[in-house]
């Protein structure tokens, strides 16, 4: 049937007429409202009436958490200091709905709303700059290398964020905000020492003067990680290790309307059990993340505000896998050395303006050029010397792609004190085509203390290069036809904020389609395919009570039910969990903070043969309770001593990686990670 208004169906005709009518009403009303505002003589009104007028800010400053069109949690600077986390994932682990786990590749995985163990479904930002790599799509390759001492607060949005941020803002957006602009100069020098031969240190400096602002940070970290005995795939009595070494430098400088941001992070992770599940002491991986951004922002007075940004990001992956240890593949073992680099060059322009006196409007556009290169694979050759030789077909196909986007957001008051947020983003990938993702939010106060939010949104996640460009290596067969995953979500939240008690509860329904999964192909091997579907719904809640003015107790919890396309519950994720944080500020000089995290049990799938018959049933991972304790003691006005005892009861924590059988046909034990850990740190502030 031709595409023409004359051939619309009855429903389409009704929709079209409603659209036209409502749009006309909107435009006429807006014009009318604008005229009415200009005609009103504010300066003739008495004070009482002036204080009853609804106002809208001209600057589109950050809206309050109540007005934000998303389920939002903010971890404040004071909370971060009181918790004294080892890293940023320790903070996320205490956030409602989040659970952090480790599978094989050392980069932590997030469990959120029961949808699986992933890191590519969350967008990570630092001061608004994207940090997800294109190679794996992951957000956690760099997250634990950014020193917590650099972070002022963390903004976490649960739910779809693609309407503003595009790909990877799939199930959450995490924005790490560094030292804010404050008058004068401030600095921090710190050092830390802990168990597992852990050492770290760094310095942070911030200066704000007139129209200049500067943040500089440098940090280093070195730890051998936990070292536990483990019987591997070959029934060998080995050890599980998670060493980590990282160096991080960060700079953010503003001069007038100009701003520049730069980050360089190098992480080196050594031997680990890995997904080959052999004790492979010879493995080593290095990730290097580089980010540079320059921006210019100008207030155009009556014409709003415009900001332009250009950026360059690079993620360099350089690994050495001991795929087969020497004892199993003499004389040299089987070593593989893949490398790849992804780079992103692009720019963005955003215009903000108050329209019709009450609409906070934002319009933006971006363009990226993304490239995968330096893709090489070497492995141990047949030579008795074990020299590495290049593999002709590399592990990832190099490629260059472009992507452009247009996005908008309009936030306006609806009835007294209520807000409606409408937004949408159009993304066009030369490889995948285009997509439009809307976001609609309605927030309203119920009374002076409480708010309701109703939210709807969709999101997408473009495949990473590893998912879309793999060649045959290991078990993987070439995969070049995966398409983006899609998500649709409805959320509702009720929150209460009183002087010493805040609490909020939200419910959600999320549907994910075209989920990229690894499947066994008939010809043998595995491949990435868009075959999965997940329906997830649940509840999240958090509350914080302040008592005796300087003590607080926070509690949060979640419950979810997620099922896949077969109607089975999504495995290897907890269905419920809770966290409790008790902070006691006993005096100006010392503070204690106790955290307890409960994670529900995780069901594991049985091990199947190639025909789908059950070979062995796996035991579920039991529920766990981990408790941490932090103490801070202010020795001097400028010197603070902090102590951390992580997992102080040494609760066994096991990876929820899929179960395997060892060479003897026995169920391979789940490998443990992070038992009890202690750390002392000293800070000098100036």
């Amino acid at each position: 049937m031709p595409c023409s208004p004359f051939f619309l169906t009855c429903r389409q005709r009704i929709h079209t007429r409603i659209l036209c009518l409502s749009t006309s009403v909107f435009l006429i009303s807006a014009l009318g409202a604008a005229n009415k505002v200009h005609g009103q003589d504010l300066f003739a009104l008495p004070l009482e009436e002036l204080l009853n007028i609804q106002v809208v800010t001209a600057t589109l400053e950050a809206t309050s958490i109540h007005e934000a069109p998303s389920i939002m949690t903010v971890i404040s600077h004071e909370e971060i200091q009181n918790i004294n986390p080892r890293n940023i994932t320790d903070i996320l682990n205490l956030t409602p709905g989040f659970n952090m786990v480790v599978e094989s590749l050392h980069a932590p995985l997030l469990q959120l709303r029961g949808t699986g163990n992933r890191q590519d479904n969350v967008l990570l930002l630092i001061d608004g700059h994207r940090l997800n790599c294109q190679l794996f799509g992951g957000s956690t390759y760099v997250i634990n290398d950014i020193p917590v001492e650099l972070i002022d607060h963390v903004e976490i949005i649960r739910g779809p964020g693609s309407a503003l941020y595009g790909s990877n803002a799939f199930e959450a957006v995490i924005n790490l905000i560094t030292v804010p602009e404050q008058n004068g100069k401030q600095g921090l020098i710190y050092g830390k020492y802990g168990t597992d031969d852990t050492m770290g240190g760094g310095t942070t400096y911030a200066s704000t003067d007139h129209d200049q602002h500067l943040v500089l940070s440098a940090a280093g970290f070195d730890s051998n990680g936990p070292n536990d005995p483990y019987v591997d795939l070959s029934a060998y009595n080995g050890t599980i290790e998670f060493p980590q070494r990282s160096k991080n430098i960060y700079a953010n400088a503003r001069q007038g309307n100009w701003n520049i941001l730069a980050l360089r992070n190098i992480e080196n992770s050594g031997p680990y059990i890995g997904n080959t599940l052999y004790d492979n002491e010879g493995s080593d991986r290095e990730y290097t993340t580089t980010a540079i951004e320059g921006s210019y922002s100008r207030d155009l007075n009556a014409y709003g505000n415009i900001s332009l940004k250009t950026y360059y990001d690079e993620f360099d992956y350089d690994a050495l896998w001991e795929a087969m240890p020497v004892r199993l593949s003499p004389p040299n073992g089987l070593f593989k050395a893949p490398t790849a680099t992804d780079a992103r060059l692009g720019g963005e322009v955003i215009w903000k303006k108050t329209l019709f006196s009450s609409h906070r409007f934002l319009l933006g556009s971006s363009y990226d050029q993304i490239k995968l290169y330096n893709s090489t694979l070497q492995q141990t050759g047949p030579s008795p010397s074990g020299q590495m030789v290049a593999v002709p077909a590399s592990w990832i196909i190099p490629e260059e792609n472009s992507h452009h986007a247009f996005f908008f957001q309009d936030q306006f008051p609806l009835f007294t004190d209520s807000h409606v947020t409408l937004g949408g983003r159009y993304d066009n990938y030369d490889k995948y085509g285009d997509t439009f993702n809307p976001r609609i939010g309605f927030t309203t106060p119920v009374n002076a203390d409480s708010y309701i939010k109703l939210l709807y949104g969709t999101a997408f996640r473009a495949p990473s290069y590893y998912e879309s460009n793999t060649t045959a290596h290991g078990n993987l067969v070439p995969t070049t036809d995966v398409t983006p995953e899609r998500l649709e979500s409805i959320e509702a939240e009720y929150s209460v904020t009183q002087p010493q008690l805040t609490w909020r509860a939200n419910t959600f329904y999320t549907k994910i389609t075209d989920l990229i999964e690894t499947v066994t192909v008939p010809a043998g091997g595995t491949a990435k395919r868009n075959i999965g579907t997940i329906d997830s719904y649940g509840l999240e809640a958090e509350a914080k009570k302040i008592f005796f003015n300087s003590h607080s107790i926070s509690i949060n919890g979640y419950w979810n039910y997620a099922e896949d396309e077969k109607g089975d519950r999504v495995l290897r994720t907890p269905q419920y969990g809770a966290a409790l944080i008790l902070n006691n500020k006993w005096s100006e000089t010392w503070n204690t903070n106790i955290q307890a995290k409960y994670t529900g049990s995780m069901e594991k799938a049985p091990v199947l043969d190639s025909n789908g018959a059950v070979l062995a049933y796996a035991e579920d991972l039991p529920a766990t309770i981990t408790c941490n304790c932090s103490v801070a003691f202010v020795i001097d006005k400028n010197i603070t001593l902090r102590g951390l005892l992580y997992n102080m009861f040494d609760e066994p924590l096991y990876s929820p990686a899929p179960s395997r059988l060892d060479s003897a046909g026995n169920m391979l034990a789940d490998f443990p990670y992070q038992g009890r850990f202690a750390m002392l740190s000293m800070e000098y502030r100036f």
Binding site: S29, V37, I53, V55, T208, H210, D417, G433, D434
Partner: protein, 199 residues
């Protein structure tokens, strides 16, 4: 992703919801929210009119001098100056405002030092709060009515009057003790509409 059909379907669904929502907001649009800068300027004129200064530094026919310090996206100074040029402000007191984006950064028509020396009212935007340490010496030398945009400004004893946004409306906080110590007295009508914060 399927170009074409899915996009149109999504776009039309979003537009339909948008149209319904904006159709519903017709009652609101007839009582649209007002630009904050204009309301703030009107309230400031009332505050100044209801405040007795410790010593008459200007004659009744002369405008009071106000310095707005910090980034001023609401264009407060421009709005106040535009009002000053009208025949008679309803409050009876006129205010001439000078805006300075940063401390010690001269304006187009006068130097920062001269403006500070002659002002009776100092307004600090949120951005201007960072200059409090530099201003502390000046504020102890002679009485200046200090107005800010954050509650902490009054609660911490740094300023006398704060105009904040609560539930999308302007709210007035007053540190009466600080004002009285400097010789200022607020009228009953102003105190009736303000939250008193004394430190």
């Amino acid at each position: 992703m399927q170009p074409g059909n899915n996009i149109l379907k999504r776009l039309s669904s979003a537009l339909l919801l948008f149209a319904i929502a904006t159709g519903l907001c017709l009652p609101h649009l007839c009582q649209a929210a007002i630009d904050e800068g204009r309301v703030r300027a009107a309230v400031i004129l009332h505050i100044i009119a209801l405040t007795q200064l410790p010593e008459p530094t200007v004659t009744p026919d002369q405008p009071l001098r106000m310095v707005v310090l910090g980034q001023d996206p609401g264009r407060l100074a421009d709005i106040l100056n535009a009002k000053m040029n009208e025949p008679a402000a309803s409050t009876g007191k006129m205010v001439r405002a000078s805006s300075f984006a940063a401390y010690d950064k001269n304006g187009e028509t006068e130097t920062f030092a001269n403006a500070l020396r002659d002002c009776q009212v100092l307004y600090l935007t949120k951005d201007g709060m960072r200059y409090l340490p530099q201003l502390s010496a000046l504020l102890t030398k002679r009485p200046i009515l200090t107005i800010g945009e954050t509650e902490e400004f009054c609660q911490n004893g740094d300023g006398m009057v704060c105009l904040t946004i609560k539930a999308q409306k302007l709210a007035i906080h007053i540190n009466r003790k600080l004002a009285i110590d400097a010789g200022f007295h607020f009228g009953a009508e102003l105190l009736r509409h303000a939250v008193l914060v004394d430190k």
